[in-house]
């Protein structure tokens, strides 16, 4: 199945390169861009569309992976970085650093600040919701964190010295991959990779956790270390993603849920599959955002919310009985 997902991601990646406001003959432009003079179309392909597609994979992969990992840790299928407030807290960290001038000195400050925001949120949630939290407690905790982070983002932007700050709240709260460049890819890549490694190596402990804390410990795992690993890993890759794309929600909710039956519900096996699925979903959503016939490009977070929110409601209805 991992192979099938990888193929889907590759196909969507290529399709994404072919999507945009200007019609681009893909093969010819690709060939030209390796030559001496890429031409305007070549530049569009390499400098505008390629980073955008790569970021969709990076951010989508992180959201899918982190969602699956958090769900494995919290043993709750509703844990998604957007729903539980991790993404918006990451956004808060990024906003504070960008709009108050610190990012100008050191561009890696942004993903690190976002990661810090995300880590604080997850730690807060682990504390608020406890280890064996029911779905309702978790969602409520997430609502609280989301509301708080969102409010602080708006406050920060209102106080920021830049005249564009307030309008940019839309970017941070709804996410976008428009007009991103390779600079953004390089900024987000290091922490993303750290996060991915931390999370992928948590596969086995997450499987063991299916049997409860005690049995997992008796199988040789240090639970505080596992928790720390997942928290840090999720914070790193979600933070790095939000730092360049704003807060995009629901990917970490929809993808693990759809793929879980295909991996026998094993949390460990779900991780990489979810990463690939998230990348595919975001590539598709980003293409949809560009293909819809409206003058302003649709914000990416809006597309994922249009898919994800009804899905979320459906999930709630299905598990209504077990909610309390």
């Amino acid at each position: 199945m991992l192979v099938a997902l990888s193929v889907v991601v590759l196909v969507l990646f290529i399709a994404s390169l072919a999507t945009g406001h200007v019609s681009l003959p893909l093969i010819r432009t690709l060939v030209a861009s390796f030559g001496d003079d890429p031409g305007m179309l070549g530049l569009i392909l390499i400098e505008i569309r390629l980073p955008r597609a790569l970021l969709a994979i990076i951010v989508g992969g992180s959201l899918g992976l982190a969602g699956a990992a958090l769900q494995g840790l919290l043993r709750n299928p509703l844990a998604d970085p957007g729903v539980i407030g991790v993404s918006s807290s990451a956004g808060l960290g990024a906003v504070l650093v960008i709009y108050f001038g610190i990012a100008a000195e050191w561009s890696l400050a942004v993903p690190i600040a976002a990661m810090t925001g995300a880590a604080i949120a997850v730690a807060l949630l682990l504390g608020l919701a406890g280890r064996d939290a029911g779905p309702l407690t978790l969602i409520l905790a997430g609502v609280a964190v989301n509301a708080f982070a969102g409010a602080l983002i708006s406050l920060a932007l209102n106080l920021a010295p830049s005249p564009y700050a307030v309008i940019e709240a839309v970017f941070w709260l709804l996410g976008s991959l428009a007009d991103r460049s390779f600079t953004h890819v390089w900024i987000s890549l290091p922490l993303t990779l750290v996060g991915w490694i931390l999370l992928a190596t948590a596969a086995r402990p997450l499987n063991a956790l299916s049997l409860g804390d005690d049995v997992a410990r008796s199988l040789g795992f240090n639970l505080s270390r596992v928790r720390g690993q997942v928290v840090l890993g999720a914070a790193c890759c979600v933070g790095a993603g939000v730092a360049v794309s704003g807060a995009i929600g629901f990917v970490g909710l929809v993808v693990p849920h759809l793929l879980r039956p295909f991996v026998g519900h094993e949390p460990g096996r779900l991780l990489i599959a979810s990463g690939l699925g998230g990348a595919a979903l975001l590539l598709a959503a980003d293409m949809a955002a560009r293909l819809l016939p409206i003058t302003h490009e649709l914000r990416l977070g809006v597309v994922t919310a249009l898919i994800g929110a009804p899905f979320f409601l459906h999930l709630i209805v299905r598990t209504r009985r077990t909610l309390i």
């Binding site: 200007v22 569009i44 400098e47 505008i48 709009y99 830049s162 005249p163 564009y164 940019e168 007009d179």
Partner: protein
């Protein structure tokens, strides 16, 4: 008998004095507490009025990124356009833009304040008319004429230097806005001798153009705004996208400070000069 004559003389003298006095323009005729509520109206007020006659300008004009007259504005009180801030100033003349809060404007007009709404001029003749209008209202006609002759002198010099070859140029502003035909930017490009590439695409007015379309349009000269120390934002960051540097290799990439063109007024002449210097 002498008393009645004396009284008649006094009355005549008094009448004469009163008659003469009535020709002296009253203190109320020249505005001494001018309030401006809009970044662009601020610029004109700051250029034409005595600082002592300005009660307040809008807070936006203190921002060095967007305001040509920021240095002067920083010495003055500011408002955020709220009625409670304006009333205590007891203005005798208020300038506002077309999009200044309608509620506030209506309220102030109803109370009886003198409000003048200024639209954004689309070209240089429009700018000249507006400068004269504002100068007249401020009773600073001399300064108005001096400002305009200075502006015209610079424009004329630029026109002379502009040679025949018509290069295409495009303006790209934060958040993807471009200026098409019938905009002040278009007028500036015309004087400098550039063809507005965006207008060639059929765009009029100010709209958003995606980066891809801009690059594909392939202008000879690309004009981006540069930012001073006015804080950072994604909108500004976007103009530093590497694709601009790469696509303009061998061509001309100019950065014009935002404050020179965000308002349609005499400061456009400085933008013109800057563009002239950058002509290949």
């Amino acid at each position: 008998m002498a008393v009645r004559t004396f009284i008649r003389h006094v009355v005549r003298i008094l009448a004469a004095v009163l008659f003469v006095i009535s020709f002296v323009p009253s203190g109320a005729a020249k505005p001494q507490r001018v309030v401006s509520l809009n970044l662009c109206t601020d610029q004109l007020v700051l250029l034409l009025a005595e600082p002592g006659n300005i009660a307040a300008v809008s807070y936006l004009s203190q921002d060095i990124t967007n305001s040509y007259m920021a240095a002067s504005a920083r010495k003055l009180p500011t408002t955020r356009g709220r009625v409670e801030e304006i009333l205590p100033l007891e203005p005798d003349l208020i300038f506002a833009g077309r999009f200044t809060s309608q509620g506030s404007v209506e309220f102030l007009r109803r109370i009886g304040y003198r409000i003048v709404i200024l639209d954004s001029p689309e070209d240089f003749p429009g700018i000249r008319a507006q400068v004269r209008q504002v100068a007249a209202l401020l009773e600073e006609q001399e300064r108005g004429e001096a400002l305009l002759s200075e502006m015209d002198r610079r424009l004329e010099r630029a026109k002379q230097a502009a040679s025949g070859n018509q290069l295409t140029a495009a303006f790209y502003l934060p958040n993807g806005y471009t200026a098409g035909g019938k905009t002040p930017v278009d007028a500036v490009l015309e004087i400098v001798g550039f063809k507005n590439r965006v207008a060639e695409l059929g765009v009029t007015g100010t709209t958003i153009l995606s980066m891809e379309r801009l690059i594909a349009a392939n202008p000879d000269v690309l004009i981006l705004s540069s930012f001073g120390d006015g804080g950072t934002s994604i909108a500004q960051e976007m103009l530093n996208h590497p694709v601009f540097a790469k696509s303009m290799k061998g061509k001309t990439l100019v950065r014009v400070p935002t404050r020179l063109w965000v308002c349609s007024g005499p400061m456009l002449a400085e933008a013109v000069e800057l563009l002239m210097q950058s002509r290949p």
